[in-house]
Structures are given as structure tokens and as C-alpha cells.
């Protein structure tokens, strides 16, 4: 099945919980409401004709311009060898999305990573702790407005270049 057919099948069952479908630029994807993502994923996994048995990837993308954080789900079916991309938009100030850790166990760590680096809270997650950063870290580094702290427990996070005239990456422009 291609993405458009899968989306039609989902619309027939979930109605307005399924948002816009976009196949104009790059990989096609479809928006899903944040409070329905676990139901939709459960259906995608258990429906025999869809059978998305693997969560291939789960990532978060920060969009300060629209004041949203998107979580992107790449699902893959080993049985039918097809793929679908789901997107969930959450409010950037207090992003809350239903967890899919109960659908695929692979989601557990992926969601912990997104919580750690982007600060999205996954409602119903069994063990939502930071994964990569230290537990007492302040802020979420993959947010676009994250400012690196000057120091961490008395350890400086940058230093002057010991060679006169060579700028460190902290001083040079970012883009």
C-alpha cells in the first residue's frame, strides 16, 4: 500500500483525528492529533492489512516560528514492506503527547531521548527520565533557542583559544 491509501484507510476509521496529508516535498507524511496518536498507532500495528510491526524512527523537531514541536514517527511493516510517516504537533510551551511505548517497545528509549533533548512530555510513558544528558541538566539542547550554559558543576564548557589570532567555534558565526 502507498501512503495515500494508508491515509484513506485511517480517515475512514478515525475521521477528523487524522489531519492534513502532504506529499509535495520529499517523503509524504500525515498529521495526527496528539491525543489520538496511541490509538492510531495501535490500529496501524494490529490491522492485518497494514501490520506496521516496527517503529523505525521517532524524532522531534522544534519549530519556534510556529511555536510548535513536532514529533515524527517513521513506521515500517516487515510483513507488507511498506512505510508511513506520521507527525504530531504540540504546543511548544507545554508539549504533551500520548505515548506509544505500549504499542512498540522500541518507542520507550526514543521517547526518552525526545523528552531529554526537546522537552516533550509523553503521557503514560512507563519511565520518562533523561537518557543522554545528565539528570540535573537544565534545558533541552535540541531546542532552537537553547543557550549553552557557561559551566556545569564548576567545569567551563568553553575556553579561550591558546593560540593568539585563532577564533574558537564559540566566537565564530553559526551559519
Amino acid at each position: 500500500m502507498n501512503s495515500a491509501e494508508i491515509v484513506d484507510r485511517l480517515r475512514a476509521r478515525f475521521g477528523d483525528k487524522i489531519g492534513d496529508f502532504d506529499d509535495k516535498a520529499g517523503d509524504p507524511f500525515v498529521y495526527v492529533q496528539p491525543d489520538a496518536i496511541d490509538e492510531v498507532c495501535g490500529h496501524l500495528k494490529n490491522d492485518e492489512a497494514l501490520a506496521f510491526d516496527a517503529l523505525s524512527n521517532l524524532s522531534g523537531v522544534d519549530h519556534p516560528k510556529t511555536s510548535t514541536i513536532q514529533v515524527v514517527y517513521h513506521l515500517y511493516s516487515y510483513r507488507h514492506r511498506h512505510m508511513i510517516v506520521l507527525k504530531v504537533s504540540a504546543n511548544r510551551e507545554d508539549p504533551v503527547i500520548r505515548t506509544v511505548a505500549g504499542v512498540w517497545r522500541a518507542a520507550n528509549w526514543h521517547e526518552r531521548e525526545v523528552f531529554d533533548l526537546l522537552g516533550v512530555r509523553f503521557e503514560g510513558h512507563p519511565d520518562l527520565r533523561r537518557l543522554l544528558m545528565p539528570e540535573d541538566w537544565v534545558g533541552h539542547p535540541l531546542r532552537k533557542d537553547f543557550v549553552e550554559p557557561e559551566e556545569y558543576h564548576g567545569i567551563k564548557t568553553s575556553r579561550e583559544s591558546p593560540i593568539h589570532g585563532i577564533k574558537t567555534s564559540h566566537e565564530s558565526p553559526t551559519k
Binding site: 524524532s59 523537531v61 528509549w109
Partner: protein
């Protein structure tokens, strides 16, 4: 103590209480392949739970990508998985080419595949060698590294580096193969193939070794897919799936090779021995692929004309490549500027690491080492 299946249950009726012990393993431990740590709750020798604690090697590679731009990010991809850096190079090049709509010249694709497959052999040699060492057989490790050294020499001739290659570029490869590279590579493969048999005679079919791994840390087909295990770990559980075959890219559709899967030849399908043997057999398949590539190559350019300041159109792409540790996902969002808006690298070791907490339940502490080694976890790939 009664042992039923794989679950070890401790039952005592002699009046002594057993007490749960909390043990710390790592972050520096000779058998953990890099810096990673486990907090183990154990009842005697039997683990109730082993919780991985990762992040010691987090270098924020994804955040760096947002700053340095498309072409300049290539050397950083080497550091995602330094044991098999070529597939990481290829993944990054492919996702950018998909976004920007760049076609790689045919010879460039062949160069990429040859380099990647040589690197895959090197990575598997390290995996099987260090696996033997982790469970107490030191000599096979030296044999495996001896052969790996020759690949390092070959790749050094190709791109000047032995580990962090930075060989590929967006649109192709940095250089063509050096003179006589093909002959040397074939000479090496002629040397390696009998060595793999010798290696099998030395360790793979050794009775002590087989019994040490058979039926240990079994991962069923369903669990493997549920945890999104990939590559040799998935195939060890009996799933015949390889990105090179099932979602073909580059020149793989033209090449004839087999996909070894675990069959439970020594115990149960999906045990540590199956994962080990899949890697041994894959090395021979890599040899086949390299030979075919070398015979099919024709003269031509190895890199396409790519603008110096690459600005792909806004959009996003998700590309999967078969790295030495399996299906590696590259999700890249472009906003039309010179650097990616967001890059996510989904690696094989990340999935394998997340499965350990579940799989290790009921294992002996010594078997945790066998489990980590058989999953071929490379710590920097988990943390990125």
C-alpha cells in the same frame, strides 16, 4: 535452585533468606566496548534486572549538524560509529543527495560499495574477535585483529585514514581507487576466505565456545521486531531482512549475494550463537560483493558536479542504509539554508541497547557480557 527453561527461579527451603544485590558494571569495564554502564540487580549470580545507563559518549552530533552545513558535516559522521565509518559516510551522503536531487556517477557508487563492504568485514572481524575475548578466549581476538589490520592498510591507501575515513562526498567519493587497488583487494580476499574457515575451526565450532553461547540470551522474532533490532541481530532471530536487498540502494540490485539468517543450529533460534554465526557468514558475502563490484566497474567520474554552497529545497527525507550494525536511519529536514534544520540518526546499537533491560532478565551476570558482545554494541553509536 530449579532451572526451568531460560528463567532461573531461586527457591530455597533451608531457612536461609536470599538478598537482592545492586551491582555497578562500568562505565569503564573491559568487556563493555566503550564507555557504558549497567546497574544490575542480582540474586546471587542471577540477574533480576540490568538497567543500562548511557550518555557518557554523547557528543551532540545532531546539534553540530545544524551548525556546520552539509558538506562540512561529513567528517563528523565518521564519529557516529568509528568501527564502521564508511556506511555512516554513505548514509549522510545519500540523505543529502535525496534532498538536493543529486545523481551519483556509476563508478562513484561502485567505489562506495567496495569501501563500505571492506569496512563491514573489518567491523565484523572486530565483533567476532572481541566476542571471543569477552568470554575468555584471547587467541582468536589476535587472529581477527591481524586480518583487520590488512583492511585498515587497504583503506588507508584508499583515503589516508585507518578509522575515520571521510572518504565519501556529497555526490560521490573524494577520490577514485588508487592504482593496483583492485588487485590488492582481490589478493586480500583470496587470503581472507580460507582464513575465515581457519577461524571457524579455531573457535566457532569449538565445543566449549558453542556451549557457552548456545541458547543464551534468546531474542525471539517478535521481540526483535518490537524492539526494532536491525542487521545481524535481527537476522540472528530468523528474520530474513537486509536493507541492501529489500529496500535496495546504490548498485546493490545488480549484485548477487545471500542473506545469512540464524537457524538455531546450536540451540534456539535467536540465541547468542546465531547472532555470532550470522556475522561470520556475512563476511563471506561481503567478499562476494567486492569481487563482483571490481569486475563490473568501468572507467568514469566518481563524483557529480555539486554546487559549492549546497542549498537543498525545503523538505525532508528519511534514508536507510545497511551499516555493519544494521539498518541505519537518517532523517534530515531542510529549510532551504546551507545547513540541515534538523538531523536525526537512528542507529542499530541504540535499539540493541534498549532491548538489553528486557533480554537480560533471568540471565547469569557472566552471560550479560556474552549478550552485549553478541549484539555488537558500539557505545558512541548509542549516544551520538
Amino acid at each position: 535452585m530449579s532451572i526451568t527453561g531460560l528463567e532461573v527461579e531461586v527457591e530455597r527451603d533451608d531457612g536461609f533468606e536470599t538478598e537482592e544485590m545492586t551491582l555497578n558494571m562500568g562505565p569503564q569495564h573491559p568487556s563493555t566496548h566503550g564507555v557504558l554502564r549497567f546497574v544490575i540487580k542480582a540474586d546471587g549470580e542471577v540477574m533480576r534486572k540490568a538497567t543500562p545507563d548511557v550518555g557518557y559518549l554523547h557528543r551532540s552530533i545532531e546539534k553540530i549538524a545544524e551548525k556546520v552545513g552539509y558538506a562540512s558535516f561529513m567528517p563528523y559522521t565518521d564519529r557516529v560509529d568509528y568501527v564502521a565509518a564508511m556506511p555512516c559516510n554513505q548514509g549522510w551522503a545519500m540523505v543529502t543527495e535525496r534532498l538536493a536531487g543529486i545523481e551519483v556517477p556509476r563508478r562513484g557508487e561502485f567505489c562506495r560499495v567496495i569501501a563500505t563492504e571492506l569496512n563491514r568485514i573489518a567491523s565484523h572481524l572486530l565483533a567476532v574477535g572481541s566476542m571471543a575475548m569477552d568470554i575468555g578466549a584471547y587467541t582468536p581476538f589476535t587472529h581477527a585483529l591481524r586480518e583487520r589490520e590488512l583492511i585498515n592498510e587497504l583503506l588507508q591507501e584508499l583515503c589516508g585514514s585507518r578509522l575515520t575515513f571521510n572518504y565519501m562526498r556529497i555526490g560521490g567519493c573524494a577520490w577514485d581507487l588508487p592504482p593496483r587497488f583492485g588487485e590488492k583487494a582481490i589478493e586480500y580476499l583470496d587470503h581472507l576466505e580460507p582464513i575465515i574457515d581457519e577461524y571457524n575451526a579455531l573457535i566457532s565450532f569449538n565445543k566449549i565456545y558453542v556451549e557457552r553461547l548456545a541458547s543464551v540470551a534468546v531474542i525471539s522474532r517478535e521481540e526483535a521486531i518490537d524492539y526494532n533490532l536491525v542487521g545481524p541481530n535481527l537476522r540472528g532471530s530468523g528474520v530474513k531482512y537486509d536493507v541492501r536487498r529489500d529496500e535496495p540502494y546504490s548498485v546493490y540490485p545488480e549484485i548477487d549475494f545471500d542473506i545469512p539468517v540464524g537457524t538455531g543450529e546450536a540451540g534456539i533460534v535467536g540465541d547468542s550463537y546465531d547472532r555470532y554465526m550470522v556475522r561470520i557468514r556475512e563476511m563471506k558475502e561481503c567478499c562476494k560483493i567486492i569481487r563482483q563490484c571490481l569486475s563490473k566497474m568501468e572507467p568514469g567520474p566518481v563524483i557529480a558536479k555539486v554546487p559549492r554552497n549546497l542549498k537543498p529545497k525545503p523538505g525532508e527525507a528519511y534514508v536507510r542504509v545497511e551499516s555493519a550494525r544494521g539498518d541505519m536511519g537518517w532523517y534530515c529536514v531542510s529549510d532551504g539554508s546551507t545547513a540541515p534544520y534538523r538531523l536525526k540518526i537512528r542507529t542499530g546499537s541504540f535499539a540493541a541497547m534498549s532491548a538489553i533491560e528486557h533480554v537480560s532478565r533471568g540471565l547469569m551476570i557472566a552471560d550479560l557480557v556474552a549478550l552485549i558482545a553478541s549484539l555488537d554494541i558500539v557505545a558512541p553509536e548509542v549516544d551520538r
